[in-house]
Symmetry: C2
Subunit: 394 residues, 2 copies
């Protein structure tokens, strides 16, 4: 019998005493506002540039902690600093956002093929409007979503990444991130609920039609515009188990909200497939970075590493699946992934987690953050799991 009260207590402690304080203390920039994420194990700054993704993601995180965990003034202050930094420094004159800016907010890199900086700003704005009651931020979030739609659907704006068949590609990442964005926006904007629901229904159909493949028992990351499996290409065969498992819990979560059994079954299927493919039984566990849909060898350099965020997604998805089904299989998976996290990722001395392990479970680098790792997946995991334990009365 699992002691979920104990799990909740531990997660709450890690979140509020070890993880968020690490970023508040070492990440928040009291001079220029905003957050640094390139930190060494002990919080020492390793790169003074700022990730625009993480200005938005950290904004969401501190707002969510304020909203769901505790009304600490420091969370609100951090959120306010982040929202100001985004508004002042993260947008180019054409309305698109940068990818990296200097400490004081001058542009360093703008990525031309993507709109992820924008989507993370949207979820941050939406959450900020909820905790402050400042409705101008939900309007900003909605306008930015319309702009993302314009970027996505207007030919000649985003420099297209052509897929191996010489046609514009369809990537699972697009509908995935938008599902999350819409779910956040819907919470802040009751007037737009129907609009969000119908958009989400369209995205869910897109995911199921093009990316969820019963024939291969996996979610493909990239397919041809007509959904064809690009099996003659490294990129066409790539499976990202952590990403598919994240998608699985987004979909189960929507199934719970809508009481939609089809979505719940879809999410459970996606979880089952990618636990099977992703959990590394050969090398002591952990969700591995990539697999090949035909079990051919992979080309990406970090294909067999164990990153922190797939473990987070697996913890959420397995706990949600257990809450829904009460199937002990999911509980044992939840325990396995938590043990793997505790044994390797959690740094009891300085707080926060390490991010990057080799396949065999040895540490690859001791950094706590870079332009891709900062306060998002880990706090989200702790918060979502706490919420699930309450929701399912575990």
């Amino acid at each position: 019998m699992m002691d979920f009260l104990e799990v909740k207590k531990n997660f709450s402690y890690e979140l509020t005493e070890k993880v968020l304080p690490f970023w508040l203390k070492h990440g928040m920039d009291s001079v220029n506002g905003g957050i640094y994420t390139c930190l060494d194990r002990d919080g020492t700054l390793l790169d003074t540039d700022k990730s625009v993704w993480f200005q938005g993601r950290a904004l969401w995180t501190f707002c969510a902690a304020y909203e769901k965990i505790e009304k600490r003034k420091e969370y609100l202050d951090a959120a306010t600093s982040l929202v100001k930094f985004i508004d002042s420094h993260c947008f180019d004159s054409d309305g698109r956002m940068f990818f990296k800016v200097t400490a004081d907010g001058r542009p360093v890199v703008k990525r031309l093929r993507y709109f992820f900086s924008e989507t993370f700003a949207i979820i941050g704005y939406a959450a900020y409007s909820r905790i402050t009651g400042d409705l101008s931020y939900r309007d900003k979030a909605f306008k930015l979503l319309e702009f993302v739609e314009y970027l996505r659907t207007t030919k000649g704006i985003l420099i297209p990444k052509v897929n191996p068949e010489n046609e514009p590609s369809i990537a699972f990442g697009g509908p995935m991130i938008l599902l999350n964005v819409l779910s956040e926006l819907r919470q802040s904007f009751p007037e737009k609920e129907e609009w969000c629901n119908s958009y989400m229904a369209k995205l869910l159909t897109e995911v199921e039609t093009y990316f969820v493949r019963d024939d291969l028992k996996c979610v493909l990351e990239i397919v041809a515009p007509d959904g064809r499996f690009l099996k003659e290409h490294y990129d066409g065969r790539i499976i990202n188990p952590g990403h598919a498992i994240e998608g699985a819990w987004f979909i189960m979560n929507e199934g719970l909200i809508k009481n939609d059994d089809h979505l719940i079954k879809l999410g459970l299927k996606m979880l089952d497939w990618h636990w099977e493919k992703g959990w590394d039984k050969e090398y002591g566990g952990g969700i591995i970075q990539y697999r090949d849909a035909l079990d051919l060898p992979l080309s990406e350099y970090h294909q067999d590493m164990k990153f922190w965020w797939p473990q987070c997604e697996a913890a959420i998805a397995t706990l949600m699946a257990y809450g829904i089904t009460k199937d002990e299989k999911y509980l044992s998976w939840f325990n396995e992934v938590n043990k793997y996290i505790d044994d390797r990722f959690v740094d009891n001395e300085y707080g926060e987690w390490y991010g990057y392990f080799h396949r065999d479970g040895t540490l690859a680098t001791r950094i706590k953050g870079n332009f891709y790792k900062g306060p998002f997946h880990i706090p989200r995991m702790y918060m979502k799991c706490i919420e699930l334990i309450d929701y399912f009365n575990l």
Copy 2:
């Protein structure tokens, strides 16, 4: 006492019986022309797209083998197939080259910040003009170099990668690749010898002024436009030992050609520094992918892997340094790196080398090629080492 005759025999055998045949048999596309490089251990095709870098690099490789090793018809045929594929399919209408095309030559990816596809086509064209006597190809090579210069120096053409200080960055890769390009072009174009020499002198000054850092005992990959060490940034501190060692032998080689003691000493210094920093004494040897100039932890995922090409560059540089100095230290380094290559990289069963090992020397993926690994560094190493053994009468 080293038996260099034996080394030469082995290298020659590996080159002509194991490595080049692997690519001729499994890589060359008899239907569309050109070469596939995404091959599994046994030569099975893993991706049907073609790397434009490798159409040019393989062209250079087969020309060089024909020119320096043996006048085999299959080398000349491969070169002719490659040059035709490049001419027909690898250029966009604006004169720039693609990065990836389909098997039959339709564009897949064009990279906007770089001109490496062009530089590899130049060395291929230059070598092709030498083996065929077709002077139109050295003219094409020269025109393409002028075009690269135009791309490099005309503002607003290449989408600039801004460095962490919000200024356009200077990267070691630029002068490095151009040194190699000019050295190839000079061999094909005696009339342009003075022009090439004076351009190379400028590039060598650039390398020495901005990237070779006595204070840090390393070559920096990226510096501020005024040469400042960007020590507050992951990218600014990054050291790529294999790349610096490749630069070291380019420079020593130029020192030998020009009988320039300063260049030879510069190259030796670069080799000494990066053997010290790059040879992984902790984990059984091999040149490691990256180090940090201040010994801080790194952020790149593959930072501690052992790739094939740095081992190739180290073999050439250590043998050249031994030939120049007769210092036994370099001979022992040459032996160490060759033993590391033999024990891990060389695949005696199917020919060609593996490309990617973990830090501890275990194989990360069994692939023999992708868009970055194909017939270039390994054949160049064998050919250059054979040449050096003859040149120094070892």
